[in-house]
Structure formats: structure tokens, C-alpha cells
Symmetry: C2
DNA sequence: AATTAAAGTGAGTAATCACTCATTTAGGAG
DNA sequence: CTCCTAAATGAGTGATTACTCACTTTAATT
């Protein structure tokens, strides 16, 4: 039971310069997200999207020149929003101001944060993961966001923690890989592989953070 | 630079009861693996596969009734082979016979093992990960293998380690999720997301194992 | 009410798709 | 060589595809 209305609103807000979307355009986005998530981009037909959106097929191509442009205008705002916490200037504040257990509070904030976001946008998460491999445009967008924002911010925090002797001796890239593997592994298992299990989310989040913290603690 | 010849041999060995493949059939499998991995199943055409295999399109359908049957006959032997270590009766031997650091040696064996296998079969790994989401047949096969073999074997080993007081108090399912997230996160990063980086494989394997071990150690 | 531009329509199109089948080729047994 | 069967072929087929375009509807402004 996903709240597609919320997701579409999310997309709207991010369309550059708050350009208004017509009602039909909203219907198209909603339908496209559902169908792309379920069958994958390549196996989704514009005719099916139009039918589900209660719209003529031509209407889709009024607003999006190609099917791929429709995909991109769905995925890239989501990717940007998903990485938004890293853009926030106060991102690594906890680490610097609260040295004793800075990494833990950082991780907790981040994970709870992104967990809620993934929960509200599970189909979009699915689309990103499924389609990333096939669309160079998406890969470029991801690389940009990751290499220029996420990685440097992460590294800054890690270096600070290392100076304090709080962290294992391990290359930053490896540490970041461990953290992201654990977090993404959780989100993917939770929302894509086994969303129907009876998850105790609070506990699983705690376990995940404990695992990461002990895995990275100075010995 | 992937050794497709080796991969095709792997597939051959696993086709039930070592039924012989004709040379053309080998060419078809090789071409299909390459193209499926690159463009994804849905965007791959049988005509393109036939062309790359230097074979008439009809020849494909002599051997495989449908395009999907071709996919399945490529993927399922790989999945079976990938999980083979868990079938081996001596799998968890280290844990029981060598209690002090049983988990570590188990992990090391397993990871090095699967690392080499993934290295030799990177395109197949790619296909599995990419297509799993869209094909219920593959999901069923995976569930079967995972729930009936991997998970129980894992659990048996974990319970034993818990009795010895070597492990955190955490549900087995969560522990297994952490381990698999870390291992798969590594393999996917190494062979799919960033295969062209200058990887120091031995070191990364050690880091990964250290991370898991400390993350799961009794506090 | 008249005007106008944007939004919406749906029949039409060329390309491509997975798959079929009548026919030909290849290769081993006698 | 003669059979014979399995392997291989490739032109053909109907269905589906993303996308176009001449046209109609809508809605805001004068």
C-alpha cells in the first residue's frame, strides 16, 4: 500500500522552478511510476501508461518528447531528493560538535531519515535500482551526485573521527562502502526483496547501526 | 575482459545429465549472456543474439522454445552453482571443529570462494541481479535455494556460535542480512558498479571480513 | 461573446518484435 | 555410397511498439 499521491507531490516540488503540472500530467506520472516499478522500463508500453492514467497516448508525448524523457523526469528528482541530507550544510554537524559518539548519532539520523523517505517512495527506489544499470544518463547523474556531494562530505566526517582515534584504520572508500552496503542492504531487503515480512523496523534499524558501529570502532 | 569460454563451460557442466551442446548452441549461450548482461533481457532481441552468435534466428528456437526459456536456462544453473558451497556437507565444518575463530574462517573461505566465482562470471552475476525483479520463475528458484539451503545452514552455524558466547544477541535473520549485505555489497561494487577501479582485492576482502567479525562479535 | 493559445485527442505509421515452418544441410550408421 | 535423423536455415507473420500529426476541446483574457 504505497501512497502514490505523496510521491507525485514530491516529484512536483522538485520539477525545476515549481512549474505547474496539469492534472493529466500528474496522472501520467503516477501511472508511469506504478508501471515502471512493476514491469521495468523496457517492458512498459506508453499505451499501457496512457490507459492507466486515463489519458490519450498522444498526451504523454505532449509533455515528454520520448519515453526515456518520461523516465528521467521521474528518476532524477528522486535521486536528488534522496541525497538531499548530504547537501545540507549542517549534515556532519553531529560528528564535529558531539565527538564522543558522533558517528552513531550521524548514522542514526541519516538512516531513520532515509528509511522514512524510502518507505514513502518504495516504487521509485525500485525503479532507480532496476534501471540504473541500463541508462547512462542516470549513471552520470548518480556519479555526479555521489562523487561531488556524498563522498566528500562523508570523507570529511570520517577524517575527523579518525583524528579522534574513534575509527578503524581502513581507507575511507572502504569504510563508506561498508556503511552504504549495510544501509542499502537493509533498505533493499526491507522494501524490495521482502516487503511483506513482519518487520520490526525500530529494532532492525538499531541492529544495523550497532553492526556498523562495532564493525568500524577502533580496536 | 571476461572469459566467456569458461562461463559457457560452467553452464554446460550444469545442464542436466551432461547433455551435449552443439557448437551452435554454445555460440548462442555465449552471445545471449553478453547481450543480456549489456542491455537487459527485455531490451535484447533474438535477432541480435542470433547475429552475434553467427546463427540463424530459427536455430535459437530449435533449442529454446521461447526467449524466456533461454534466459532461464542461462540463469538457473548459475544460481545453483553460486550457492553450491552451502550444499556441501562439510560447509559449516570450520565452525564446529574450530570454535575459537570459527566464523572468521568460515567467512574467509566463503568470501574468497564466491569472489573467484563472481570474477569468472561477472556478466552472469549482472544478469541475475538485473532480472531477478522481473521474473517470478527466477524468484521462486532463488527462494527455494535460499530458504531451503542457505538460510538453514547459516542458522545452524550461528546457533552453535551463539552457544559458545561468540556472537551478539541478535536474531539470526538480522545477522544473516548483515553478512549478506556486506558480501553482496562488496561483490556488486567490485564487479558491477565500479569494476574499472584499481582494486586491491586481497585487502578489500580482509577489510570486509574484519568489518563483519567486529560488527557481530560478543560485546 | 469573441479570441487565442495551450492542452488534449486518437487514428495512423513504419519499425521491430518473438516466433513458425517448409525446406535444406550435416554427419553418423549400415 | 545410401539412408536417416537431428540440426540448421531464413523468409514470412501477426502483434506490438514508440511516436506523429491534423484536429478538437478547454479555459483564461479581453
Amino acid at each position: 500500500m504505497t501512497d502514490f499521491k505523496k510521491m507525485v507531490e514530491t516529484l512536483e516540488q522538485t520539477t525545476e522552478k515549481d512549474r505547474k503540472l496539469t492534472p493529466k500530467q500528474e496522472q501520467i506520472l503516477k501511472a508511469a511510476v506504478e508501471i515502471f516499478a512493476e514491469k521495468g522500463y523496457a517492458s512498459s508500453s506508453t499505451s499501457e501508461i496512457a490507459a492507466k492514467a486515463n489519458v490519450a497516448e498522444g498526451t504523454i508525448f505532449r509533455h515528454y518528447k520520448t519515453k526515456k524523457e518520461l523516465l528521467i523526469s521521474i528518476v532524477t528528482p528522486f535521486m536528488t531528493k534522496f541525497t538531499l541530507p548530504f547537501f545540507a550544510s549542517h549534515f556532519a554537524k553531529e560528528v564535529f560538535e558531539e565527538p564522543p559518539e558522533g558517528l552513531e548519532s550521524l548514522l542514526r539520523t541519516l538512516l531513520k531519515n532515509r528509511f522514512e523517505f524510502a518507505k514513502e517512495n518504495a516504487p521509485l527506489l525500485r525503479i532507480v535500482i532496476q534501471e540504473m544499470a541500463f541508462h547512462p544518463e542516470l549513471q552520470e547523474n548518480f556519479q555526479e551526485v555521489f562523487l561531488e556531494e556524498i563522498f566528500p562530505k562523508f570523507e570529511e566526517a570520517l577524517n575527523h573521527l579518525k583524528e579522534k582515534g574513534k575509527l578503524v584504520e581502513m581507507p575511507n572508500a572502504s569504510i563508506i562502502r561498508m556503511i552504504i552496503s549495510s544501509v542499502v542492504g537493509f533498505l533493499v531487503t526491507r522494501f524490495i526483496i521482502a516487503p511483506d515480512l513482519n518487520w520490526e523496523d525500530e529494532k532492525e534499524i538499531d541492529y544495523t547501526i550497532d553492526f556498523i558501529m562495532h564493525g568500524l570502532a577502533q580496536k
